[in-house]
């Protein structure tokens, strides 16, 4: 890319995720990933786009420790990992407050500390006033906000997102994209975000990684030159459209 480099924070670069030649073969013989090299530093928001079943989720599962790579080395330099699932995975019997407290509770943090942390996270995602609401009383977007807040209580250095907004309507998704960008700009975590949507990928990330399907391989990488936090209006600029076009093109080539 010949465009100007994005503004980087002054903090020292810390590599939080380092995949080198990572491959994944499941017991049934399916090869989900092959030869993946991927680095995510603090202050980087990397989005992975690729067709269904290309092993994007497997990438996250390896990063989080849910799976172990069958080949190569996968290094994660932190134990503060946030993981946002495809669905909100809230516990239906707990209200928003108690749901957001869950992870701190599982990490055996004292009650007062985790309540304070949960309160802060709830405010941050805009759910103030809904602390006592049960998941069944929330919309899909609000559930996702609660899920985000829950991960935020871990104060993650590495934040993994597995297509979190895939099931939401366009307007909610765009709004949550903006919220996520705001959080990222504020917290400067390292983000790894999986999505199907090319425009979402370009809009929220500092780098877009394109994968091909079966076995999942990285076919192209694009730096996104726009400033963080992002102006929602950039979505309607020529530069943005051009980059979306290039990514889509790479995606299509990798797919065939």
């Amino acid at each position: 890319m010949t465009l100007t480099a994005p503004a980087r924070p002054a903090t020292a670069t810390k590599t939080l995720l380092d995949f080198s030649n990572v491959a994944m073969q499941f017991k049934n013989g399916t090869i989900a990933l092959s030869g993946v090299d991927l680095v995510v530093n603090r202050g980087e928001f990397v989005t992975v786009v690729g067709p269904s079943g290309c092993g994007k989720s497997t990438l996250l599962r390896i990063a989080s420790g849910l799976e172990t790579a069958s080949e190569g080395t996968a290094t994660v330099n932190t134990d503060r990992i946030g993981y946002v699932f495809q669905d909100a995975t809230l516990l239906p019997w707990r209200d928003v407050q108690k749901n957001v407290e869950l992870l701190a509770e599982l990490n055996k943090q004292p009650g007062a500390a985790r309540r304070a942390k949960a309160k802060e996270a709830i405010d941050l995602v805009g759910l103030k006033g809904f602390e006592k609401s049960l998941p069944k009383e929330l919309s899909g977007g609000m559930k996702m906000r609660a899920s985000l807040a829950r991960s935020l209580t871990l104060d993650p250095e590495l934040f993994l997102f597995d297509e979190p907004f895939g099931a939401l309507d366009e307007i909610t998704r765009e709004r949550l994209n903006d919220e996520l960008i705001r959080l990222f700009a504020e917290k400067q975590f390292a983000g790894l975000f999986i999505t199907h949507s090319v425009s979402e990928a370009v809009y929220i990330s500092t780098k877009v990684v394109v994968m091909s399907g079966r076995p999942g391989k990285i076919v192209d990488t694009f730096d996104v030159p726009f400033d963080m936090p992002r102006d929602p209006e950039i979505r309607y600029t020529g530069e943005f459209a051009e980059l979306v076009g290039k990514v889509s093109h790479a995606l299509r080539e990798g797919h065939s």
Binding site: L66, L91, P92, L106, G126, G129, L134, P135
Partner: protein, 282 residues
Amino acid sequence: MSTVAKAATTGSPTLAISTRKVDVRKSVRQAGPPLAVLAGVVIVWYIISFALGTKSFLLPAPHRIFTEGFFDPEVATDIGTALLRTTGVALAGLAIAIIIGIAWAVAMSQARWVERSLFPYAVILQCIPILALVPLIGFWFGFEFFARMIVCVMIALFPMVSNTLFGLQSVDKSQRELFRLQGASRFTTLTKLQFPAALPAIFAGMRISAGLAVVGAIVGDFFFRRGQPGIGSLIGTYQSRLLGPELFASIISASLLGVVIFALFGLIGRAAVGRWYEPAGS
């Protein structure tokens, strides 16, 4: 977003009133047909009863079930005492079935090999005709409270085991992974995730078991025919003496006991999990 939700909350009281109005009409419409059926049955009942003439003890006219059954002080006392005794047996049996059933299911949920070793016996317990075992149970444990309770437990156990196990295993995969990512122990995962998630299924099982516990208490008693009479042996006594109205009164009482306990556990279940649980498809 929040303004929309708040508007919806303030708008709900009027909505609730209007639905209540509709509910009255709806409940009349719902209760109408079954009441009509009941009326039809009663009419046919009277016709048959009169046609039987001297053999009317086979099917006494409905009003006689009240005049000679429920409203007869002596019969009412007998039925009441027996019913109380049976209720005690049923509830004690149910409590034991609940405890054993949940413990059994929890054990099976912890390891595949435990499930493989124990589940067949739950199924066998469900399949053997308990009636065939009743004499044996009396032979071993006597014919009083304890033996009757064992019959109860054996009949009521299976739904508790299978429902609890189903509930524990139905936890969402990603919710389980959420716990795994935090390094939650087996015990924490069980108490904070699996068990609460299983509660709706457990209460559904409890309701079925409650109904079966009443059946068990009556069956045990009916076949033992010894010791202090529960409603089962009272039914047996009335039957052998050809006391039609009393027999019908005792049978109706026994049936009502089952219905009441079933409904009671439905209410308990709703009180416990209704706040957050949404049955699929609602």
